[in-house]
């Protein structure tokens, strides 16, 4: 296990005041906020910053960490000595609130004692429900149409008989129902953190996000795609084949369609009790005038149609 230099993470000196630590945390929390940050790995960096702040903003944790960490450098191989924390008392509430289950093995090793859990040598006298867990999951648009199975690997805190917490990997085989939309949340009862004593496990919440699709774009329940057509198909009307996220349909293009026209396929968006619609946005593609016949046809149109696309501008 590598030693983590929490001072380095927050960019403050070891002798920084509580106020300086708070200011540094807020600056970084703004910089790496996952909703607005354009930094690479913003979410991972935010987790590191949160973890560092959870230790350095708590006077007792900070004091214990300082006593332990004075001789270590960031990245150095690290094992905490036995009874390293003698004389310090932590609430361990990071594993009972505020997303502490996302913290590193290093944090779990140092401060991972279950909230309200038994102290060393005591027997468990509490029954507390486990913490709910939250995760994001990326699925393909096709999965929203058909449903899908996914294997998820989560790191969950496990509490031993002494009330000490370690992080363990936990794999789940999850059936994602069809009809899910971007930003919706799935709930898996009893798949969160384990309870303490006879307390029930918490629940797992999965926030759905779609992988970018090369052809389809999603807005809520509705799905959009560009359909490229020839000028004569747009002008005269035509029946063309259009592929959908699942399957394909024959689409009738009405005569006199202009570039950018939306053709709505009702109910062909993401399935639901009220399914979304699928919109095909027409893109008229012009053949090149790169041979005598093509030029002749364009010239005939120019001569005989008397068409001025900028007529209303003059």
């Amino acid at each position: 296990m590598e030693f983590k230099d929490y001072y380095q993470t927050l960019g403050v000196a070891r002798e920084a005041t509580a106020d300086e630590i708070k200011k540094a945390f807020r600056r970084l929390a703004r910089k790496y906020h996952p909703d607005v940050s354009k930094e690479k790995n913003a979410e991972a960096r935010m987790k590191e910053v949160n973890e560092a702040y959870a230790v350095l903003s708590d006077p007792e944790k900070r004091a214990a960490y300082d006593q332990l960490g004075a001789n270590y450098q960031a990245g150095q191989d690290f094992r905490p000595p036995p009874n390293w924390d003698a004389g310090f008392e932590f609430s361990g509430r990071e594993f009972g609130g505020g997303g502490g289950a996302d913290f590193s093995d290093f944090f779990a090793e140092l401060f991972g004692r279950s909230r309200a859990g038994p102290g060393r040598g005591e027997s468990a006298r509490f029954n507390i429900r486990g913490e709910d867990r939250h995760a994001k999951i990326l699925i393909a648009l096709e999965d929203a149409y058909q449903g899908a199975s996914r294997v998820l690997t989560l790191r969950v805190p496990a509490v031993d008989d002494q009330g000490h917490v370690t992080m363990k990997e936990h794999s789940l085989n999850v059936r994602i129902p069809k009809g899910v939309q971007e930003g919706q949340v799935l709930r898996l009862a009893g798949q969160g953190s384990p309870g303490i004593g006879e307390g029930k496990s918490g629940d797992l919440y999965l926030e759905i996000h779609f992988e970018p699709h090369p052809r389809f774009r999603v807005d809520g329940r509705d799905v959009y795609a560009t359909l490229r057509v020839a000028p004569w198909e747009a002008a005269l009307g035509a029946s063309v084949k259009a592929s959908l996220p699942v399957g394909a349909v024959e689409v009738r293009i009405p005569p006199n369609s202009q570039n950018g026209r939306n053709l709505r396929l009702k109910g062909r968006g993401i399935p639901a009790a009220t399914p979304g619609d699928l919109y095909l946005v027409l893109e008229v593609v012009l053949p090149k005038a790169d041979n005598p016949k093509a030029r002749e046809l364009y010239e005939a149109m120019a001569r005989e149609l008397a068409f001025d696309p900028r007529g209303s501008e003059s």
Binding site: V151, R175, V180, V185, L188, D203, Y224
Partner: protein, 103 residues
Amino acid sequence: MTHELTAMLLDETLLRLDELASSCTVTREWVIEHVRAGVLLETAGPDPTGWTFTSRDLIRAKQLCSLERQFEANPELAGLVADLFEELDRLRARLRREGLSLE
């Protein structure tokens, strides 16, 4: 590997007050305060035990909670920032629909 677990769509079952509070690791009083302040749950009746919360409410409650913890924001300021995040999401979705992106 465990057997296949079926995930339930939260918007079909919804969360009750205590479930939302537990899920965000806040007290039920925190949730009631934020609903009463008008920053959580668009329409709420007088009785908190009758309130139900959607996926959007859960994500928003987590955002509010995180903003208040990280920046010591009051509920109204956290609500304003959460409103801006939601507007940003809508605009990003609109750009995606047009085949464009902010990046």
